[in-house]
Symmetry: none
Subunit: 402 residues, 2 copies
């Protein structure tokens, strides 16, 4: 069963709106075990919409069209689908009444052009879910099918989950369950991971299930995705658990979390479990650490705060080496905020005999001081973000080692 | 001149990554006066990539492929382009050396499979900009062209602006000059702006040039885009200048900047011009302000720093009203960092008799204290970001009024 997505709207091509609908639909299709091999964006143009949807129907069994069901002149998905089906549009008075009720329920009169939204291609059926004024469509074309949903994400989601996905699964007669797990790593490159996992990937290529894939997650490390395809939920989870254990054995402590966990999440979880509090002194990282930690701990119960200041780079006040400055500023943070742990990262300065972009990470506790050096990337954005993740990763490993 | 975008990567179809690259490219093409009528996402599959790019080349003059230039086995854009060109790949040793230098600059060895990134289709040329390890390509196919860039946005942007857009404009022999200017506003809604500008938009609809368009810029205010299409650069700039002056007269001080200027940029510019320094006390905004300001003032010469702490919400220490706490914490910041100005925003707490989400903005200087109240959105992310922009906007207006 192959299903394509066609996102409709000139504003999508012009970049005025990012097409998050196709991504969401793609994820839902994958989770439902339906292949989605192409996704296309096309503007509000009759001929181009017809040719795009026809082309999609040729190579797939189903097409989901998203957008172009509004009341204005440039909303022509209804007309395009009727043309492809070779049928006329017919106004559905039940839908006209539903739209009128919708507006009256909000104390507004229905505009005349909203009636256009009730024009349905003859032979198409209306999707039961209709949270807005645009009815969704299920339009059969031979033994294939076109679905149409509004571009409003909330309305589209409801129609996808309520009608389209179940209809696709019924059509495909799919029994299989597809489940994924993402293993998040920090400290090796995509190609480095590929080398470590090369033998296992070759084995899995022969077995065919589960599969492994790599994904660079922007600056936030590399993800390894395990995908299992099987008959039932319990077996899928068993396959994922076993594969996760194998990968953990191969990758060790560069694995920092699973699925949606970030470096901040896992550090906060560990600190919370130990009842410990944290504060930071930030110079080069300029508040990036505070912003990320306070996003996940808005009450600042575990992450108590940070001082952001260039003073920590002052060699007279904080020390003549990066290691000294990192240590003294981490202690400053711990004392200033009265926390169990203070952390800081400090960059080597010119004339200190260190390689360019050498950074010193420091963790200060009441009983111990921990420090290490690392190299950060050259450009400022990556330097700051890398510096924060490296520092949190060092804290994670230090906590785990105790 | 028609140019399509093909975004490559199975992770895009599966919704693991949202394809923001195509949106960004679409916007750049539109600004450059190049039509982009289709954008397609396709997975890392040889046959499907070949057919998608061929199909795009049939109906357009140029295709920009984004992604699939990495070092791993599933990165096959190089092979696909060579196949479409009907040529072999050849390893470019200069590029191998560049990649090796890249890794060595970061203190890491180059993995063997990174050499694949230096395999270039014979007859294609390499894009001069190469901020990462993946070289971009300009691959002629008859009188048409395929461009290939990495999927990493930063690398793609650099290649687009440095090579691809100029090359497209040269190929299209565009005689007309299309120039845009974006007027950035804060403090009115899109529909509110449309009302104020309604008469002028009607006038321009009749004249045809320049045109005005609105664009909600996520959380960062509404943009008004003036686009002038004319024969030469000087005339284009004259049209933009005149229209900007008209819009300034209509919108007044809700305009905070132009084009790429952010609220931080314009505040820093004003402070720098006056030789003044700034510090902040952050509670609810949790480092968002520090992060944004220090990004643009990395040396922290103007923005001297911030203290991030829940202490500023402490009613015993900082006052029994939001206005008191904002005032006292702004003064604390000014004194702690020894700056000319201290700023803070503080949220009303339960039982203080204020409407939900009332926030107090405060600016403290040696001679004057300035305070005002505003209402912030409910969800935390928007509350923090709005709070920071509102506070900076208040500082901008206060500085301008002096």
């Amino acid at each position: 069963m192959r299903c394509e997505v066609v996102a409709i709207g000139t504003e999508l091509l012009l970049g005025q709106i990012v097409d998050t609908n196709s991504s969401w639909i793609g994820e839902q299709l994958a989770l439902a075990g339906i292949d989605s091999l192409y996704q296309t964006k096309v503007g509000d143009n009759f001929d181009r919409m017809v040719s795009t949807i026809r082309h999609a129907l040729e190579r797939s069994d189903a097409v989901i069209c998203c957008g172009g069901l509004g009341p204005t002149q440039d909303d022509i998905t209804r007309e395009v689908i009727a043309h492809i089906m070779g049928v006329p549009l017919e106004r559905d008075e039940t839908i006209v009444q539903k739209i009128r009720d919708y507006f009256e329920g909000r104390g507004r009169p229905m505009a005349e052009n909203n009636k256009r939204q009730a024009d349905i291609p003859v032979g198409a059926s209306i999707i039961a879910q209709m949270p807005g004024t645009a009815p969704g469509l299920v339009a059969p074309v031979g033994n294939k099918v076109i679905y149409a949903t509004p571009g409003v994400p909330r309305e589209m989601h409801e129609m996808m989950l309520g009608t389209i996905l179940p209809d696709l699964q019924r059509r495909s007669g799919l029994a299989s369950v597809i489940r994924s797990r993402v293993i998040r790593t920090w400290g090796n490159s995509e190609s480095g991971l590929a080398e470590v996992l090369a033998d296992r990937i070759t084995e899995l290529d022969a077995i065919g299930n589960p599969t492994l894939a790599f994904q660079a997650s922007g600056i936030e490390g590399i993800k390894v995705r395990i995908t299992a395809k099987t008959g039932d939920e319990a077996t899928a989870q068993k396959i994922l658990n076993e594969e996760e254990a194998r990968i953990r054995a191969l990758l060790g402590d560069i694995i920092f979390g699973l699925d949606e966990e970030s470096m901040e999440t896992v550090v906060l979880k560990r600190l919370r479990a130990r009842g410990m509090t944290l504060a930071a002194a930030e110079a080069i990282t300029g508040g990036v650490l505070a912003e990320r930690m306070s996003t996940l701990d808005p009450a600042m119960a575990v992450f108590r705060g940070a001082m952001i200041s260039a003073r920590f780079d002052d060699t007279a006040a904080y020390g003549k080496s990066g290691a000294d400055r990192a240590g003294k500023s981490a202690r400053f943070a711990r004392e200033e905020f009265g926390t169990d742990i203070g952390i800081a990262v400090n960059l080597a300065q010119d004339g200190e005999g260190e390689r360019l972009n050498t950074a010193f990470l420091h963790i200060s506790t009441k009983d111990h001081e921990y420090g290490m050096a690392t190299t950060l990337p050259g450009d400022r954005y990556r330097l700051r973000t890398f510096g924060v993740i490296e520092l949190l990763n060092y804290l994670r490993k230090t906590l785990d080692a105790q």
